[in-house]
Amino acid sequence: MKIKENKTMRNFHEAKWDEPIIFELSTRGERGILIPRVEKEIEDCVGDGISVIPKEIRRKKPPQLPEISQMRVLKHFLRLSQQCLGADFNIDIGQGTCTMKYNPKINEVLASSPKTREIHPLQEESTVQGALEIMYKLDLFFRDISGMSRFSLQPSSGSCAIFAMTSIIGSYHENHGEAAKRNEIITTIFSHPSDAAAAAVKGYKVITISKNEDGLPDIEKLKNAVSERTAGLLITNPEDTGIFNPEIAEFTKIVHDAGGLCGYDQANANGILGITRAKESGFDMCFFNLHKTFSAPHGCGGPACGALGVTKELIDYLPIPIVEFDGNKFFLNYDLPHTIGKVRGFFGVFPVLLKAYAWIMSLGAEGLKEVANIAVLNNNYILKKVKEIKGATAPYAEGKHRIEQVRYSWEKLTDDTGVTTEDIACRMADFGFHLWSSHHPFIVPQPFTIEPTESYSKKEIDEYLGVLKKVAEEAYEDPEKLKNAPYRSVIHKIDQSSLDDPEKWAISWRLYLKKKKKNPGVFKTKKNR
């Protein structure tokens, strides 16, 4: 079978509704919804209900919310939704590190059931056996996938899971009488910013290992960094470069030999499902972002879950409660002697857990491995094609294959044309695509990060690459055109400077109105174009 290359460029324009701010829609007296009525008998019994509130604490002036009829509210938010490019619409491979994959619709159906939505976390255990069973079995799946001994599904994001790992590191050393001495956590420059930031919240001094010439964390620097002060290591593998660190087991050994614990940031494990695991690399802990690898949608940035796994030795430190099964019923176990306590209210984001459970059940062991295989195949296909684009390079590890993503560079293009990675990103929006640069600091100059996952067909990948190539060509032909992009998006170039200026920033509509009143010219467009 011969597969035709897709050579057509899409004539795209994003929806532009020019929709007012919600407060501008207000008409005095309109109502969006009415409240359930109070029966007459209740009113006869207790009166107006509010006169019991002490005067000094009773709100006299109602909140200045807008007054809008129901259909207009609906229309407003539907229009806003049309001005947002979800992964269901996009070929969302330009948001590297975020594992933008298909979020199966059936899982949304399951999560929308009253059996999911209308349960309270403090119901008696006998009435939530279904929820507990899903959580228990998901724990079993993750044990198998990671080689760890036990999972907590409580952390509400990758960062929350990282914070839980640093908390466990702290409690572990406290329990061994070394908390005061072990005050350093080591991470790497290509690991997520939260690996460094969460450790600092726990009071740790953060040591960041830089990369070597191959783009991998420098093992010699790690050897120099460890000491009796080392509390732990938080590291990603592969890092954002997509290069698997073959020395990873030595990294964990070096840290263990120094008395530290090793936490594996597996927010994104998509390329290695069923291929390699945290256990074999010597980690004490790891976590999976269920809103990345395990298909739960990203929801504009949550709700989410960072499922946290630990070895047998660390089970007692997990957040409480964990789910157990006594052969007859599922129950919550709060009795973990060294528990760090909690990292979130109640037990975690159940609908996200449910979606991850359903996704794993739909694929099984073979399917999960196929996910990894195709994600890696797609990535290496893209690697070859991007390197053919004028001005784009893939720093480090020349000639080697990458796992699930690659951090590329427009450095040459910028040097040649003055067009930056941000300019390219703006222009990609004109074609209905998103392209992300990378986390700061920009170790790779003018970075961009592509992660195709398993969800996109070759045709779609080719379409995206075709546009990327076209935009790079434009940069060489007409750099000014890119500087002023986007043209076919919802809005035009925003004024970033006012967002960084305390005199001008407006974090709410009321603040915008106040600042505008004080200084009428402040939000007017500069007349220099």
């Binding site: 969006g32 999911t116 349960i119 291929i275 294959h401 920033w505």
Partner: protein
């Protein structure tokens, strides 16, 4: 089914063998295994995972998962009086319609250009909350109230340069566990006692404990035990006199009728948006907010995303973007403020829709109806012999403590009996508030009808009959 049959997976388009082969050929590689050459042999998983056999058809999957979920009994099927920070309120259909929109559901971190709608919706959420709270700055939501309170306290420590916080001991115990871990070992915590009669903060105890070490005083209003704290101004004044900040956790559904904490001197306000149009989801519907005034010293201490409105290159066009991005851990790693990442944005959009639907009158009426229905419940429960309601003499909002100590029955037994009558009784406080003995925390919202409440009273009467 043949053992070695290879599926083409509906979720994995390039699992088609011909496509796979073509792509491998393009990159000049024999097999996919070759792409893993950098992974050392000793780290490779040699066995198959032991996961259950795949349910490859969507129908089989649905049957299987719903089969498990059917074991849940829901608050729609029963009458529930459970609250304690996760509340059963009515969720308007429009809220679900918007948060299920694929555009919002599947978006993540696009630029302000292609994701203009995401930025505007979250900016509007911030703005609507700002009106409810009567404060100028609200963050893009964090995980939940527990995280919002934890961060508010750490913000207060950075702002004041102090490292001790005083916390009212009627706080939710679940939340306290989160705050404890979030403060440890950098910030120390001391608990302030409450008056055993009224439940209110013991101002004398606060006076004894507050000092020049104190960064913040934290209390919740209404408290976890449901009563309304009326001494907010006195507590704020005392905090401010000691150059400390007043941090207040609040249930936003009360703010149509109860003053927002900014009116009695709160410097940082936090709480949960789950009650604003989001289903309980077994506790997964939580979302935390933090609010302050527009003071640079405060704004620069937020770890969260803050979406602001700005101009664009075209006159009359609104644009949105991140305010002071450089303060975050995205900008500065460990030198940023705490950490930021994925949290609860979709619930924020949903709460914005809710507030837009409710309007000022809706929020006022909601507060009033909850007051009326919960008072009706208290009045009628207190008629049951041996039952004391409410345990505390202060006025209550939505939740209240039912004292069963004189009934001779434990809350656990009572709740078992109620369950037989299809009622989820209130939260058993005996474990976390042992000083209260056998007490239950009951929650009544706008969704409860007179009949629901009467059923509870009747079931309790029968359950307790002959016990006293």
């Amino acid at each position: 089914m043949k053992k070695n049959k290879k599926y083409v997976y509906p979720y994995i388009p390039n699992s088609v063998p011909e496509v796979k082969a073509q792509m491998l050929k393009e990159i000049n590689v024999e097999s996919i295994d070759d792409l893993y050459e950098e992974i050392p042999e000793n780290l490779r998983l040699k066995k198959e995972l032991k996961l259950p056999e795949a349910l490859t058809s969507e129908y089989d999957l649905k049957r299987h998962v719903m089969g498990i979920l059917f074991k849940n009994q829901t608050c729609e099927e029963k009458i529930s009086f459970l609250g304690g920070g996760c509340w059963q309120h009515y969720v308007p259909a429009v809220c679900d319609e918007i948060n299920q929109r694929a555009e919002f559901l599947t978006a993540y971190a696009g630029e302000p250009y292609e994701d203009h709608g995401r930025f505007q919706a979250l900016f509007e959420y911030e703005s609507l909350m700002a009106e409810l709270l009567d404060m100028d700055v609200v963050n893009v939501p964090t995980y939940d109230w527990s995280q919002a309170a934890s961060t508010s306290l750490r913000m207060a420590c950075r702002i004041t340069g102090r490292n001790e916080v005083l916390i009212s001991d009627t706080i939710s115990p679940d939340r306290l566990l989160v705050i404890k871990n979030y403060c440890k070992p950098v910030v120390s915590m001391r608990m302030i006692q409450h008056c055993p009669e009224t439940g209110l903060i013991d101002v004398e105890d606060l006076k004894r404990k507050i000092s020049e070490e104190t960064a913040a005083v934290y209390f919740e209003n209404p408290s976890h035990l449901g009563f309304i704290e009326s001494q907010g101004q006195a507590v704020s004044d005392m905090a401010h006199k000691n150059q400390a900040l007043n941090v207040v956790g609040v249930d936003p559904s009360s703010l149509g009728i109860i003053k927002p904490p900014s009116h009695y001197g709160a410097d940082i306000v936090c709480g949960d948006i789950q009650g604003l149009g989001i289903h309980m989801n077994y506790g997964g519907g939580m979302g935390g907010f933090i609010a302050t005034q527009d003071d640079e010293k405060f704004v620069m201490e937020y770890p969260s995303r803050l979406f602001g409105i700005t101009r664009t290159s075209v006159e009359g066009e609104y644009g949105f973007g991140d305010v002071a991005y450089e303060r975050t851990s995205f900008g500065l790693r460990e030198k940023g403020k705490e950490f930021v990442g994925t949290a609860s944005a979709l619930w924020g959009i949903t709460a914005g829709v809710y507030l837009a639907l409710m309007g000022p009158e809706g929020m006022q009426e909601l507060g009033k109806v909850i007051m009326q229905k919960s008072q009706y419940a208290m009045t009628n429960l207190s008629k049951i012999k041996g039952v004391r309601v409410p345990r505390f003499t202060s006025p209550h909002f939505k939740e209240f403590v039912v004292d069963f100590n004189n009934t001779g029955m434990r809350v656990e037994e009572i709740n078992k009996s109620l369950l037989k009558n299809n009622i989820f009784g209130g939260i058993d406080l005996s474990r976390n508030f042992p000083e209260l003995g056998q007490c239950g925390l009951y929650c009544v919202t706008e969704i409860h009808t007179k009949k629901d409440i009467d059923s509870l009273v009747q079931a309790l009467e029968i359950c307790l009959e002959g016990r006293i």
